[in-house]
Symmetry: C2
Subunit: 330 residues, 2 copies
């Protein structure tokens, strides 16, 4: 075909070709001009973390987090907390894990009180399980998850800071509640907090877990959680407890490092006394702590070893609430 | 030869072969048994950081640090501080940079008061320069350097903890004195501390430098410092100041991250009022802070850009001095 074209008189071809190439060049120049105009204005001394830039979809996934909050029998607290949490900076979406089996979700009321800063999804569950919150929800779009208990209030300042810390330690559980295990001469482990003896080295205390009821962690760990041995799910279902201990085992095993990074909260409150439901949370059960020690030992069997590692790093926000928190007497 | 051997009667060969293989098997079994007996006893729950193991030469280099302390006109403070610092855990050696030009080092007195926990080397200088302490001393064997001003007392607990933090952040300057630069609309930078405005994002304060007069850093940076532009040395010599700011520029440029990690000291003291010499340190000069702002701007020219980055991470030791430092009101 091309050769047939070439049979046309050369002069006519020449003019058509000239017109064609001229049009192409002009179009390219216009496109180039448009692109140049759209280039961002980069200055040398611009601070990192350009938080005021308009967010594209891909930036959102990296620069924001999804709140996952499981709720049972404390809808009044849930709604109170949602008013606060829905407005946290860098929040992408809220996933409410609805463990009130058979009860209608408050979706109508929620919508009637809109508009809301972010989408809130109510995931209706079929069985009231502690580990329901550890599903790999399809609605989850961000790399980061913020998991909160439905009776815990953490200030926006604390959350914004802890999120920035998570971004620097994305493979760790970055949160506000540190716990530890200790080893005893019999080889049996115990679970606890500051009241237990310090692990046997250095001075000060150590922690080996950060509880997920008030923490940021990578959404990839929810994927990993779906691939745990059946015995782990059985243990969590049997105790209706210990999902957070299991997550710490998972993360520690995955990284070979301490699972958590503890961020000292400035303002964290437990609101359970404020509920009208009279329901006061699993940790009030008499056997709660004993169960958790039991879980540690069972998980060591399941994982064929103790993967948890100790850390004594406590992170606070420099100069917040005020500079006195770092000004020294020198 | 082998084939010739084979020509011997088969039965005789068979017995010799049998004996030979029996001996070989017995020897192998004995060797295997000996090896098994020598295997270390590995327990699953053994804590990381096996600090009580006997140290080999290579372990020392990684698991200990060298104190470099420059001194001028405050020998009484130097000796007081050496009594303390020579006994810090994980200290490998002390290098005293002797800026008292023409004065004899107190070596005789030092030796007469031996034995000492670690070797102390006095490096006699020919010119009294601030940057003398940033030489790549041949006596330096460890990966980590602890640099201290000769009037600063930091507790052993703080130093042991900060060293463990440095081991987790070996490419950063891990220390006790945070400072920052700020940008002004004119493009001119200012140097300061909490008294300056907070950099323009988020809440709370930020720091962009950790001063080397009370900090751990990687000895490799002393090597790198020898390869800086001449203008950097000229600046430090001209001001007899700013060597620490230059080091922060070097580290920030090298890592592309904030140069320092601030560890909040529990007990840090400035002893300069305790000296008999009456000498009170460079930072009392009227122009000290203005000089440091000047240095920041000069270094930006020399480095053709501002490499310093902000951080608001403040690290403290979990549960030290007591658990109250993390116990929350929940």
């Amino acid at each position: 075909r091309y050769f047939q074209f070439c049979k046309l008189p050369g002069r006519v071809m020449g003019i058509r070709l000239l017109r064609f190439t001229s049009v192409v060049i002009i179009v390219l120049l216009l496109v180039a001009g448009a692109l140049t105009a759209l280039l961002p204005n980069i200055k040398d001394d611009k601070m990192p973390n350009l938080r005021r830039e308009p967010k594209t979809q891909s930036q959102s996934a990296l620069d924001s987090f999804t709140l996952i909050m499981q709720t049972y029998n404390r809808t009044d607290l849930l709604l109170k907390l949602l008013n606060h949490y829905q407005a946290i900076p860098h929040l992408h979406k809220v996933i409410v894990v609805w463990n009130n089996i058979g009860d209608k979700i408050p979706e109508e009321m929620w919508n009637s009180l809109g508009p809301h800063p972010v989408p809130v999804v109510f995931k209706v569950q079929t069985v009231n399980r502690m580990r329901n919150r550890l599903q790999n929800f399809p609605e989850l779009e961000t790399k980061a998850v913020l998991m909160m208990d439905d009776d815990t209030l953490v200030s926006a300042h604390d959350l914004a800071f802890a999120f920035s810390v998570w971004q620097q330690f994305p493979e760790h559980i970055v949160g506000f509640v540190p716990r530890k295990h200790i080893s005893t001469p019999s080889g049996v482990y115990s679970y606890g907090s500051f009241e237990l003896q310090n692990p046997a080295f250095g001075n000060g205390d150590q922690y080996s877990m950060v509880l997920i009821g008030a923490a940021f962690f990578h959404s990839g760990y929810l994927e990993d959680f779906q691939r745990q041995p059946e015995a782990v799910y059985a243990l969590i279902d049997e105790t209706q407890n210990c999902d957070d201990i299991a997550m710490n085992f998972l993360v520690a095993k995955h990284t070979g490092k301490p699972s958590g990074v503890f961020v000292k909260p400035v303002d964290i409150r437990n609101l359970e006394k404020d509920t009208n439901s009279g329901y006061s949370g699993m940790w009030h059960r008499a056997e709660h702590l004993l169960q958790r020690s039991y879980c540690v030992n069972k998980l060591v069997n399941i994982y064929d070893g103790m993967p948890l590692k100790y850390s004594n790093i406590m992170i606070s926000q420099f100069g917040f609430p005020n500079y006195a928190n770092h000004k020294n007497k020198m």
